[in-house]
Each structure stands twice: as C-alpha cells, then as structure tokens.
C-alpha cells in the first residue's frame, strides 16, 4: 500500500505498481518469429504489463483487462511517490472495487504496436539498429490477442476467469472469446462492436490524415528529431469529439468563453470547447507516438469478428465461444451505439450462449465506460462473482 491509500476518495487503491516486461521470440526463449495475420513476421516481441492482486493457488482468479486505443498497461495504482496520476481504470480496479484485487489477479498489458513499453513502430528493429518506423508490419486485433496469450502462458494461467475491456479493449475481449474459447470463462465487452463500421473508419482516417499531412511526420521517420506534434494533436482532438456527446458538450462547455469576457475576433481558442480540445491534443503528444496511433487505429479498422471467425457470419463466429458474456452499452454513446452491442447479443442468443446485457443511462458519450459508474461497478462485480463461484464449484 502506498501513501495514496488514504487520499483515494473512491475507495482503496492497489497502491504503487511497477511496469514489467515479457519478451518472446528472442535468443533467451526458443527463437520463433511471431507470424502475423498479414503474413509478415516479427521478433522479438516485448509486452509491457502490470499485475495487481495475487494469483490463487488454483490459478482460477486471473482477469485480463484489455485497454482501448490510447491506453496502456497502467490500469490501476501509481508508479511512484511523485506520480499523482493513477492508472486509467483506477475507479474500477482495486481492493473492494468492481474488479476487486483482494479476490482477483488482474493483468493488463500494452498492446502490440503500442508505444508504452510494448513492441511497436517506435521500437528498435534489431536488423537495422534503428526504430522500425513504417517498416513495422501492420498488426491486427487478432495479433494483439495472440501476443497476450503468450503472456498469459508465461504467467502460468491456463484459463482466465474473465477478459474485460471497453471500445478497442472490447474488441480484444471478443477476439479472446472466439479465438481461445477454452481459455476464457467470462467475457465483458463494454461499449464496443463486432466490427468497425464505415463511421469508425472515417473518423480514424481523418485522424490519420492529420498525422500524414504533418511535414514533421516525414514518412514515419522522425525519431530523434522534431515529431509530428501538430498532426498527432489534431488526431487526438478528433478522437475527443467522438468520445463525448452533444449533451455532454452542452453540459460541459456550452458556448462559454475561455478566460475572457468577449470574443477576440481572431482564431485564438475563444471557446472553452476549443481550449479543451487543444489541451487534450497537447497533453497527448507528450505521451503518445504518432506511428503507433497509425498502426493501432488501422488494427481497429481491420477488426471484423465475423469475417475472421465466422466466414462472414457473426452468429458463426459466436458459435465458437464458450464463455459467459456480460455486454454493456451506454445510452449517449453514438460512436459505439447500443444497436452494435445488441448485434453481439443476438448472435450469442442464436447459438444459445449465455449472456447478460445492460444499457447504462449515461450522458457522457463513449467516454462513459471509463468514468466512475456505480451501475457498471455492480454489473461487473456480479458477473465476476458468479463466474468465480462456478469455477470453484466446478472443481469441488
């Protein structure tokens, strides 16, 4: 427990955490380049990950938490005494919380292609000694999950109690459930979809174009010099618009001006919403690599569960699953609207699979899945408790 325990108003915290690294496909492990869905291969691969809680003796309490587009392995807790910023899902993961670290062993890794410690376009290509840049192969959600499976093997977990994630994290949940049915007991896809739609792809394309149009992007070869910060910031601003909602924006900003009494009759950030987007954009470029953004958005765009696992049929893909699903959507989420969650539900029902579904009333748009929510906390808690009890009854 760290000194943050008492200051954490929402409950207990896992306290100080440490980023770990797992590497495969190198000299230390049996050398086997990792074959990607594109046909290319990659080696070695490192995944940055964190764990919270303790793996039970029976190894039946492990939960994999999959992060969204720009998340990382730091899902809960704090890195050091000076680090005031908790992990991205601090409200859900911790002692006594929805994903209770007194009961469960929680694993979260940065995705393949990421820039927060896992192998990605900013990593050094051992063949050249320089960053991969655009020579990094395009990876898919399936590749990310296959790499995660290696990590789970490495940690000695045969069957995950649950895989949980929202948005692109939810796609990884769906991929886990269909690709490795015997290794997942419960699945919790939140605010997600079985495929990226034209609307999703369109927003990603505009965001990518902002990066590609930045002269500092330089064909992806910018490491060690000026980074395409303007392009990446605009890409992030576009993202933030899609994560909110009309109602959230009216509530949060309205037409309020930022630190001024009157309009400036210029192109300064007069409005609060402009200032907010600029701030989010600036904050993002400090922590994120533009090439990783290109690769990860591409992976999400290529995601189509039916195409990969069901020969075009979502019901066909869901027929492969064996786990107990909890699907959750949010009323004001127009990026991953409820109908997309209901498509998942329908495909599961057609196969007679067990599933729960709830639509939570929330005005914060797509962002809702990351914000503290008593309703979501209780749903996840109930679903995990049920499946842990089943896991233990099954053995007894």
């Amino acid at each position: 427990m760290s000194e943050y325990t008492e200051s954490e108003a929402a409950g207990q915290t896992v306290g100080q955490t440490r980023k770990r690294f797992f590497t495969f496909g190198d000299e230390a492990s049996p050398f086997a380049p990792f074959a990607l869905e594109s046909g290319a291969s990659l080696a070695p691969i490192t995944l940055a990950y964190e764990t919270y809680g303790v793996l039970s003796e029976a190894r039946d309490n492990a939960i994999y938490v999959a992060h969204a587009l720009t998340g990382d392995s730091h899902a809960a807790g704090y890195y050091s005494g000076e680090d005031q910023r908790p992990g991205w899902w601090e409200s859900m993961i911790g002692p006594g919380k929805g994903i209770d670290t007194d009961k469960y062993f929680v694993i979260c890794a940065n995705v393949l292609g990421g820039c927060m410690g896992s192998t990605g376009p900013g990593s050094i290509d051992p063949a050249t000694g320089a960053p991969y840049g655009l020579s990094f192969p395009v990876v898919t959600i399936g590749d990310m999950v296959r790499a995660q499976r290696r990590l789970i093997d490495h940690l000695g977990v045969d069957k995950l109690l649950a895989v949980i994630g929202g948005s692109m994290g939810g796609m990884q949940v769906l991929e886990w459930a269909t690709r490795y049915p015997g290794r997942v007991r419960a699945a919790v896809p939140l605010a997600t979809s079985a495929r990226h739609t034209a609307l999703h792809i369109a927003f990603h394309e505009v965001a990518r174009q902002a990066i590609l149009a930045d002269p500092d992007w330089n064909g992806g070869d910018y490491y060690g010099r000026a980074n395409p910060v303007h392009g990446l910031a605009v890409a992030r601003m576009i993202g933030h618009i899609t994560y909110l909602s009309d109602e959230a924006m009216r509530h949060k900003f309205g037409r309020k001006l930022q630190d001024k009494e009157a309009k400036s009759f210029s192109f300064d950030a007069d409005f609060q919403v402009e200032s907010y987007l600029r701030y989010q954009g600036q904050k993002f470029v400090d922590r994120f690599d533009a090439n990783s953004f290109l690769y990860i958005t591409r992976a999400a765009d290529y995601f189509d569960l039916a195409e990969v696992h069901g020969q075009g049929s979502l019901a066909g893909a869901m027929a492969k699953t064996e786990c107990d699903f909890l699907i959750v959507s949010f009323t004001s989420d127009w990026l991953y609207p409820t109908y997309q969650s209901k498509e998942l539900l329908k495909a599961l029902k057609k196969n007679g699979r067990e599933a729960s579904f709830a639509e939570i009333d929330a005005k914060w748009g797509h962002d809702a899945f990351l914000l503290p929510s008593p309703a979501l906390t209780e749903l996840i808690r109930g679903h995990l408790d049920k499946n842990l009890a089943r896991a233990r009854a099954g053995r007894g």
Partner: protein
C-alpha cells in the same frame, strides 16, 4: 417469494434451463438457481431491475420480451415463464407461440379479472374495479388486457396449446402465502397459473 412464483417453481424439474420473461430483479431465477439447480436467463425492460439482477449474479438481458425472445433457437429452454405480465402484452398469441417455440414448456400466470371482489365493485358501484391485485385506475393502468381464468382456458383451446397443469390460487398481492382453490376457481381465485405445451397443431 410471491405465492404464484412458489407454484411455478414447484412445477420446474431439477437442472432445467429456464427463461423468465419480465423477470424483474430476478427473485424467481435466484430461487430456481438455489433450489432447483436451474440455469436461468431473464429478460427485463427496466434498466435498474436488470442491473439489480446482474449484480446478484444472474444472467439478465435488457430489452422488450416480444423482441428479445425471437433470437433464440427452438427448444432452447425447458421452461419459458411469463409471470404476471400477460395482461400487459400487446400480442399475447404471438408471444405464447414464441414461448412454446423456444421452450418445451411454458408457464403463464396472471391476475384473474373475474375475481368476485372486482365483479361486486363493478356491479354495485359501477366503476372499473380496483383491488390489491389490480391497484390501478382505468387511466393509469399498465394492464391492457382483461383476462379471466375461463378466458385463458378457452384461448389455449383455440390456439391449440395443451394445458398440462393449472392452478387457481388465492393469495394477496405480493404475499408469500396463499391457497390453491378447487371450488369456483374463476370466481374466487386472485391469480391463475398454467403450465402449457405447444401441442400438435403448433409443432411446426
């Protein structure tokens, strides 16, 4: 647990797969899980009740029962239950057909509108009956169907549904005790409970 739910539970065999339409917070499902080792799913339209059900570790999905039931394959469940909801269903015939398609058996319970207290109110005061079981004014009732035990029996015969078992029960609204009536059930019972099978006419 409500007395009509106790009757329903007594008809369900151990280890069954059960679908509860309009399951509320899942009282019956939880009972069946504990006492009958049943594997249950509930459908409920009220978001807060859905959340309460899932929070207690039940499988519940949020949605309209008439829509949600359509996705299931035939014979998916051993029992499909519709308890005290029939009087609010827009198309009862279609719903009961669906129940008996996805389930081998169906169980339906409803408040008996021909209970003598309601009849007396209508006869003597000339106003639409209001009772503990049906505590609504004509303008705020969610109940769009007036059903009696005799009506439902005729309905089953007309639809080709086979009544395997039935119980006319006398119990107070939401109470846990009551009795099963044999004498003048359509007059004295506050609720009717029926166990149905699809019947030869509805096989296809």
């Amino acid at each position: 647990m409500r007395f009509d739910l106790q009757i329903i539970a007594s008809w369900i065999e151990n280890g069954s797969r059960v679908l509860d339409l309009g399951c509320g917070q899942g009282d019956l499902l939880e009972y069946l899980r504990g006492e009958k080792n049943a594997r249950g799913t509930g459908i409920e339209i009220d978001g807060e009740k859905v959340q309460a059900g899932i929070s207690r570790g039940l499988s519940v999905l949020q949605g309209d029962i008439g829509e949600e039931i359509k996705d299931y394959p035939r014979d998916m469940f051993d029992y499909v239950i519709l308890s005290q909801t029939l009087q609010q269903v827009y198309d009862p015939l279609a719903l009961i057909r669906e129940m008996l398609r996805v389930g081998r058996k169906g169980i339906v319970s409803f408040p008996n509108f021909s209970h003598y207290r309601g009849r007396l109110q209508l006869l003597f005061s000339g106003v639409a009956p209001m009772t503990r079981e049906l505590p609504y004014q004509w303008y705020d009732t969610p109940n769009i169907r007036v059903i009696t035990i005799r009506d439902f029996t005729r309905f089953c015969a007309a639809g080709g549904f086979v009544i395997l078992q039935s119980a006319a029960i006398k119990t107070y609204y939401k109470e846990e005790t009551g009795e099963v009536l044999r004498f003048l059930p359509n007059l004295r019972a506050s609720y009717g409970v029926f166990l149905l099978e699809r019947g030869a006419r509805n096989e296809n």
